[in-house]
Each structure stands twice: as C-alpha cells, then as structure tokens.
Amino acid sequence: MWALRGLRNGVLTTRWPASPDAYTAATRGAVTVLPGPAADTIDGTEASALCPAGAIRAGLAGTVRVDQGGCIMCGRCVTARPDVFGWSAGPGSPSLSRQGLVVPAAETAESLAEVTSRLRARTRALRRSVHLRHVDAGSDGSEEWEIMALLNPVYDIHRLGMFFTASPRHADILLVTGAGARGMAEPLRETYQAMPDPKVVIAVGTDAVTGGLARGSYATSGGIGGILPVDVWLPGSPPSPFAILSALLLAVDRLPGQRAATAAGHGVAGDPR
C-alpha cells in the first residue's frame, strides 16, 4: 500500500539549483541595508535601540551596517525603518568569510578571493559525492529540523550526491548548529579531529555564527568560531533548508552566482514570506 503512494512523490522534488524554485524567492532571506540616502539618517543610538540582537551598527562616517551573522530575523528594523532596511529574497546568504556577512560590504574583493582559493584547494576532491556529519553545539532545536528537511522528497539532497554519515571518519563536511554551548566544546573538537583531511566546517545559523540571543551567556562561547576553524558562515534564525543547501553548494563550489559576486548586492524591500 505504501509502495503505491511512493510513486506520487517523484514530482515533488525541487530542481534547484539547476532551475529556479519559486519558494526560494518567497522565503525571507537576510536583512540588508537598502541603497539610498535614508541610511545616513540613522545614528548609533537609534541603531542600538532598533535591534534587540545588537546586529545594527552605525559607523562614525554615518554608514549603517547590518551584521547578518548576529541578526535573528525579528524584522523590527524593517518594520520601523522600511526606507533603510529590507529583506533580501532568495535562499539565504552563506559567506566564506565572517566579514562577508556584514552589509554593505566592508571587505575588499582581494581578501575574499584569498579565502575562496584556500577553500577551493581543499574541496577540489569533493565535487561529486559528499558526506555530511552534523553536531549540535547548543541549538534551539529548529536548525536540526531544517537540516533534516534536506532529506525529505522536496529537497532530496541525495540527488546532488550528498549523504549523511554516521561516522566522523567518513565525513567531508561538518555542519555545526548552536550557540557554542561550553559543554559541547570538547565533543565538537573531538568530532572535528576524527574527520579525515580535507574537511570543511559550516556554521549553520545565526546562533552558530555569533551565539544569537544566547551570546553573552555564561554557558556559551558566542558561536562556534572560537572552537573550530569555520569555512562557511550561514546566518538565519533558523536558516531555511534552501539556505543550508546553498551553504553546502558554496562549500563545494557548486553554487551558481556565488556570494563573491553579490556581496555588495542589495535586496528587495517589501513583505516576502
């Protein structure tokens, strides 16, 4: 009986990234600063009052910047100042450098090119079949759901040659979720060390990037960056399955139109879903 139902699943699977998927455009991406003069009207006091996560900073020169790595996507800035802040559409914004999550970009193209080529040197061998391992380092539990979703028939990452493995010894990519709970620092290091070289670490979600709202707690390290060398930084609270997929593809150099090209790009305003 189940066999009959299975047949109906085939058509559900997304063709992204080979072809566009309408849902990626409909999901809320990261918060960006919209182009235009309005951004200059926000000063430091307003910036810190606007953002409960401390992700908005107004520079001395009057440039407002959002650190997407600290953004918990509460949307308050977009509601309060739609002239300055907006949601980017699309599957999310993984970056190969921590600085790359600060928009508008403060980073030079050269420094990004350098981290990119270093990662490429390591991942050249991983283009075809990739094995993934996940470790929870103090998540709120939602990131695990979104990673698990990659196995459902809609995302079905097996079609991309990506598989979860039970043993770190067979893993190429380590997906780490959570704010860097201090109790997980040692087990996390052990898992990383048990993985063979070359290996790639992805910080999955705002909590893993900066600690999110759990930053500043006695029990977290404010993200996992202080525990492991991170290669791909993926913000989101939590990041959607498409965002996680885009981080995986960025890690193995299979993401079309990568962030390197769009780091300075601006999103669209409005009310995406």
């Binding site: 949307g75 103090g138 695990e144 709202l213 707690s217």
Partner: protein
C-alpha cells in the same frame, strides 16, 4: 476560570509539607525552582490541580546551605532538586542521587538566577561527575553526546546493575545555554524573542506563554482576532511536531515511503506557517498585547489549504496505523504504567498515552480555546503505540480547531490585532499546552526589566521518565522509545 494563587510560607519545611500534602491529595508537582533574592534563596513550587495552579514559595536564608530534600516525599522533584543544586549550590539533604544534571561546576561562582550580575563564564567541569560504575555484573554504556544522525546533543548512560532491568541515566549539561539567566536585564518586550528560542520547534507555545505572563501583569486583554491567530499557529505547530515524531518512528522502522510522505507533509505545514506569519516556525506571531501581523492568507484560502492538508495527511496517518509490522514494533515498547504517570504528573502526549489526561487547553484555557470545541484524547496502554495513537488523534483535533479558528476569523472581519500594552512590574505564572505538553513561565519584572524568568518546558518534566521504561531489548527499543517521547533537548537543558 482558572484560579491561581500565590502564597509565601514561613519556612522551606512548611513548603515541603504543603507540597507533599497537596500531592497526596491529588495535585501534581509542576515545577520547583530557585530565585536568588536579597534575603536568600526563594524556593518556589507550582502545584497544579484540575483547574487551578497554586504557587507556594519559601525563603531559605543565606546562611543555610542545605534543606531537607523534597524528593523522598514527592518523587517528581528528583530532577528539579538536582537543577537547584547545580544552579545555586544549596544541597537538598537526603536527595537519593545528587549528581550534576544541567551544569557540573566546581568551586567558583554559580549562575544563581535572580541575583544581580553573575559570572561571565562557567566552564562545565566533567571532573565533578561521578565515575561510571564498573564491577562484576555491573556496567555503564555511555551513548552521546554526539550521536549518529541529525540529533540534539545529550548523553544517555545505560546502567545495568546485575540481573536487574537496565536503567537509563541522562546528562543534559552538554547543551545547557544558561537561557534563564540570559533573560535577566532584558526589556520585557524583547524577552519574547528569547522565549521563542528556548525550544525552537515550539516557538509559538513559548511566545504565547511568555506574552500571556506580560499581559496578565499589565491586565491587558488581547483582541479576539489576535487570540484566534495565536490559536491557529499553536495548532499548526502541534501538527508539525507530531509529524516529526511520526517521521522518526517510520524511519526507525525502515518505512522509507512513509518517512518520505510524512516529511513532505511536515514541509507543507512549515510552509503554510511561513506563508501566514513570515517564519516557518511562527516566530513573531506572539507579541505583547496580540500578534505581530495580519496572516499572509485570507481565511477562505487558509480553509482550503487546511482542507487539502487534512485530507492527504489523515489518509497517510490511517495507513500508518494500519501497517501491522510497524504497530508490532511499537506495541509494548517503552511502557509507562498509568500509575507511574499519574504519580509523576506526566505531561502532554506522554501523559495522555498513560491515562493522565490533563490538557491546559481544556483545564486552564487561554487564547481562543475557551470558545472552540476540543476533544482531549487519552489512552491507557502507556506504550510507544499509545503515544503514537494519541498524537494521531491530536492531529485530527488540531485540524478541527484550525477550521473553527479560520471560520471565526472570517466572521470577525477586520479589527485590531494588538491591544495597547504597557510594561507592568510584578510576578506571575502563565502557561500554554505546547505540542510536548504543559509549558510554564514564572516571570518577575522589577523596575521595568526582567529580573527572573523561570521556564519549565514539558521536556524537562517528562524526560526523566525515560529512566524506567526499558522493559525489553534496550538497543533495539531505544530509537522508538526516544522518538515516541519526542522531547526537545534544547528545552530540557535550557
């Protein structure tokens, strides 16, 4: 109308007598926690009756570093007193097994929630954990905190004392995030963002319970439409959580097609939630005084979407409950006897599968539940199958509630989504029936900021029951028992 009472008694001994007396008279111990105050450690017990919640507190003076443990009299206090010991360093004297649970700390400063300030960093010290017992016929098998698959971090220790049936011990501290302390000093309007992240898969329930505490303090009535929208999202969240359990059970049994089908249904529920609220987890739905925004779908379209989901999902649930090999795997697996569930006051689907039918939506209604019809499901077999059946019934009931709420929303037309709400000082308790069971917040606001936010998710209360449900082969049963309990570690470890 729900009755809540708050009473401070003269001593911890009196608190203990009161708790033991009320539990003997049929109440359940729903929470026991500490708050560091100027005058010492304020110990607070929540005692739940059929439609009431009594809060009893007593001050332990600063020079007293221990008090007579409640656990020998009220077994449900077992984990609560270990947590108090971890966070405050006071000793519940006579506790049967006082080993670290959420924070193994050695010397130095402790978090002491409620106290102003606190240590910037506390590194857990595994050195203070008891060594694994190894001896003739006596061994401990550790499992975790990193486990295979995509799971939350927790350590299970299977202890096999001689010929006895194995006992499961759990260590939660690996992913302790110090969340309760993190609330302190926050502006109450920001606290909801943290509440939504205590248990990310139950963001709506947490946001709701938290906002209800603020609204109770400020005496704010939420507009009817907002109450309906909150209810809608709470029920979508319940369906998603119950589907997650079904996915894990089907996957454990190797039913590939069923796993895929339920994975697809769950994805659709999250997408519908995202379409309505802007977040796949309904974050931002609950805000103090009401809801954050107008739903992204008009009620008529919502009804259509709910109808399609209900039809396709319910057919698959029926098929799953008719798959004999699967049912055989769950039957008599991980039994929680009704007497034990009642004695502990087991919550949510775990309790209801063992005959303890309390459901806050019915016994202490909030949001729009008072006005909507709800049939609470219960079984008394107490095994993994009964827990699955209860969840299947609850999905059906949730669809019924979704339709009622969408109809009401269509009737209600237009109107405000948010009442005027102002921060008000005080202390109160609030609750919601999260997908995993009753969730309690005990919130204290002083001079306009949060000074204590106690969160007691059902996972912390229920997880301890996994200690004693291993009747059969521990290795083959384990995945089904864990999945059928279906409790987020994030909430339990906080």
């Amino acid at each position: 109308m729900t009755v809540t009472r708050y009473e401070v008694v003269a001593s911890v001994e009196q608190l203990s007598d009161r708790a033991a007396g009320q539990v003997a008279a049929g109440a359940r111990l729903a929470d026991l926690f500490g708050t560091a105050r100027d005058g010492g450690l304020l110990l607070t017990a929540q005692l739940a009756g059929p439609a009431s919640l009594a809060t009893v507190a007593a001050m332990l003076p600063p020079w007293q570093l221990s008090y007579p443990a409640l656990t020998p009299r009220v077994g449900a206090a077992f984990w609560y007193e270990r947590e108090i010991h971890d966070l405050f360093g006071v000793e519940p004297a006579g506790h049967p097994r006082l080993e670290p649970l959420v924070l193994p700390a050695s010397g130095g400063q402790l978090p002491r929630p409620g106290a102003a300030g606190g240590p910037a960093v506390i590194d857990p010290d595994p050195g203070v954990l008891p060594r694994h017992t190894i001896g003739p016929g006596l061994f401990t098998i550790p499992h975790g905190p990193v486990r295979s698959g995509v799971t939350e971090s927790i350590e299970y220790l299977v202890e096999t004392p001689g010929e006895d049936i194995p006992h499961l011990n759990m260590r939660l501290f690996y992913k302790h995030r110090g969340i309760e302390k993190r609330f302190e000093g926050m502006h109450p309007a920001d606290g909801v963002l943290l509440a939504e992240r205590v248990e990310g898969v139950a963001s709506v329930a947490h946001g709701l319970a938290y906002c209800q505490a603020l609204e109770a303090l400020a005496d704010t009535a939420v507009p009817w439409r907002a109450a309906l929208i909150r209810t809608l999202h709470a029920e979508l969240e319940r369906i998603a959580c119950h589907l997650d359990v079904m996915i894990r059970l089907a996957d454990g049994a190797g039913l590939a097609v069923a796993t895929a089908r339920f994975g697809w249904h769950k994805e659709r529920v999250l997408r519908l939630t995202g379409q309505l609220s802007g977040s796949r987890f309904g974050r931002g739905v609950a805000v103090p005084g009401g809801v954050g925004r107008e739903p992204g779908l008009p009620p008529a379209d919502l009804l259509t979407a709910v109808g399609v989901l209900d039809r396709e999902l319910t057919a698959d649930v029926r098929l799953l409950l008719g798959t004999a090999s699967f049912l055989d795997r769950l039957r008599r697996t991980g039994p929680l006897p009704p007497a034990r569930a009642a004695q502990h006051g087991a919550l949510g689907p775990v309790g209801r599968a063992s005959g303890t039918a309390d459901d806050a939506r019915e016994s202490r209604p909030y949001a729009a539940y008072q006005a909507l019809g709800l049939a609470v499901s219960a079984r008394d077999d107490g095994d993994a199958l009964a827990r699955l059946e209860v969840r299947a019934d609850e999905i059906g009931a949730s669809f019924h509630l979704l339709r009622q709420a969408a109809d009401e929303l269509a009737e209600a037309g237009h109107g405000p989504l948010r009442a005027d709400w102002q921060v008000a000082d005080g202390r109160t308790v609030s609750w919601a029936e999260a997908p995993h069971g009753e969730l309690l917040y005990d919130l204290r606001i002083e001079d306009g900021v949060i000074t204590r936010c106690r969160v007691r998710p059902a996972s912390f209360h229920n997880l301890v029951l996994m200690h004693e449900v291993f009747a059969g082969d521990i290795l083959t049963d384990f995945p089904f028992i864990e999945a059928s309990f279906g409790l987020p570690v994030a909430g339990a470890a906080r």
